[in-house]
Amino acid sequence: MASALAFDAPSDPMLERRRLIHEAARSSLRRRALTSRVAVGVCWLCLGIAIVPLVAVVAYVVAKGLPAWSADFFTHVTAPEGIPGGGVWNAIVGTAEIGLISTAVTVPLGLSCGLFLAQSEGKVAAAVRFTADVMTGVPSITIGIFGYIAIVKNFGYSGLAGAFSIGIVMLPVVIRAGETAFRSVPPSLQEAALALGARNAVIARRVVVPTALPGVITGVFLAVARGLGETAPLLLTIFGNQYMQWNPTKPMDALPLVIFNNSSQPYADLVQIAWGAALLLLAVVLMLNIAGRVAAAVLRREKR
């Protein structure tokens, strides 16, 4: 600037301001750069502190759980009291069945509800949305008690009672994930369909749902992962079962229950089983998360 404008009269107020402002910018540069570096440093530090417990939990579970994994662990049922060995095959089956049943019921229910919420601004929608938000915050033991009173008191302990409780945990998550995904569809696309004479149901089926599908799938997988890890709703509903049980109308075992029951036992081999089950549950949740993301990414790419 000096070269181009040096000859100008110094009395020009604009040039005087320019000189003062740029002078201030230059002289405060060091301080501002330092402040900036400190602020970035603090952010990194906080990031580090926040990540420690997350990494520690995963590392600890892997370190403790991996030794428990063996062929027997995956293929054998719970060993009788006092006899070493045994596995969690019965709990794997229980978790899988409970997960499948609750998913099969809550996903169509929740997504339809989410679609309704995304398309409606009325009082009913506001009330449902609010309820769903409250439901996501309800302590899961409360849901367990509800399952106990509503199902177990009338029909006895069963895998179905567990699936019912887990479904109640998953439902609001699916609803809100669905609503968010459906809402991300640009209104201009819906207007384009409207202007072609499409009815709401057709717009939903041909435009909104396909466009929102990647987001919906990610949301569903996250909801399933959340549901499978819930323990409290199962505690009061499925009772647990040392033996192989394929019938979901009978008391079943499940991975979270194995962790809960075994970890408080005084026998080292039972605690070991609990760690192994914890690692397995962690792995399943991780897989579901990855699967959800991959499925969404594949769908997005196909659309391009």
């Binding site: 404008l5 003062l20 402002i21 740029h22 540069l29």
Partner: protein
């Protein structure tokens, strides 16, 4: 550019860069009009290795308005943003070639981007006043960001910049109100004032009227013309009449075979619109495409 353009009548003769200040309407208050203030030499910008604009060379001249025109995808905005290192925050972007501001190498590692931006300001497509700040606070935001604390300097700068942006008279009594209470056109003028308050030497404007209605657009265009004695302006526009109305010199960019923007022609606006040397320029300014 959507509407077809009638054959342009050549605008009133303006001084070309070679003959500065001969017919200048206003007294040249600052600096020798027409001296190169920013020089671009073989400037290319690429994202993740893919060129978006390639090998552009021209001079931005003091107290003149340089317009970058061309159809969508020709790299106008990309090129503009290279002039004050706005691509710094985009990891995949790389700028090659030389851009100088006076004696300063814009892209040199030793050049501080924040200091550079106090000398090369920017106004964006959509008005973006800071929503939590008052009109006054918006106007002096750049000064505050750069450590200016002196109240008298802040006040003087705010009044000067708001006056220059033709906003002072309508907002002087409500400087403390939120900037979001202003209309779209007023908000954009506030953004221009905000950029001017830092007293940059060059002001980059990225389609500053594309989000405004015709009346507000007209006011901004008039403003741009009035500002050129205060600051050198580089303006991106896809509106050819706008380029014709406001600019002294014009760069016409076009997307090349490999989708990278290239400079087809550069010269005085009058020449570019009435007697271009490249047939593609002729087609474009006559509205045959783009």
């Amino acid at each position: 550019m959507i509407e077809p353009v009638p054959a342009p009548s050549p605008p009133p003769a303006r001084p070309g860069p070679e003959a500065p200040a001969v017919t200048a309407a206003k007294t040249v208050a600052r600096g020798p009009r027409g001296e190169p203030v920013m020089r671009l030499r073989q400037v290319s910008v690429s994202f993740s290795g893919r060129a978006a604009v390639r090998d552009v060379s021209f001079d931005v001249r003091t107290a003149q308005i340089t317009a970058l025109i061309g159809p969508s995808g020709s790299g106008k905005t990309t090129l503009l943003r290279a002039l004050n290192r706005m691509h710094d925050s985009e990891r995949s972007a790389s700028v090659t070639g030389t851009i100088t501001l006076g004696d300063l190498d814009v892209n040199a590692a030793s050049t501080d981007a924040t200091l550079l931006r106090t000398r090369v300001g920017m106004v964006f497509q959509r008005p973006n006043p800071f929503p939590t700040m008052s009109i006054y606070e918006n106007a002096v935001a750049g000064l505050r960001f750069n450590g200016v604390r002196k109240k008298s300097l802040l006040d003087e700068s705010a009044e000067s910049a708001l006056t220059a942006a033709a906003l002072w008279d309508s907002v002087r009594d409500r400087l403390k109100t939120r900037a979001s209470t202003l209309s779209g056109g007023e908000q954009q003028r506030l953004c221009i004032a905000r950029a001017l308050a830092v007293e940059p030497e060059v002001l980059l404007m990225d389609e500053p009227t594309s989000a405004l209605d015709p009346v507000a657009t007209k006011r901004i265009e008039e403003l741009v013309g009035e500002l050129k004695d205060r600051v050198t302006i580089v303006i991106v526009t896809h509106n050819m009449q706008q380029a014709m109305r406001v600019s002294d010199q014009c760069a016409f960019l076009l997307m090349g075979a490999d989708k990278a923007g290239e400079l087809v022609e550069f010269g005085p606006t009058a020449t570019l619109f009435s007697d271009p040397s490249d047939p593609r320029t002729l087609d474009y300014v006559n509205g045959r495409f783009g």
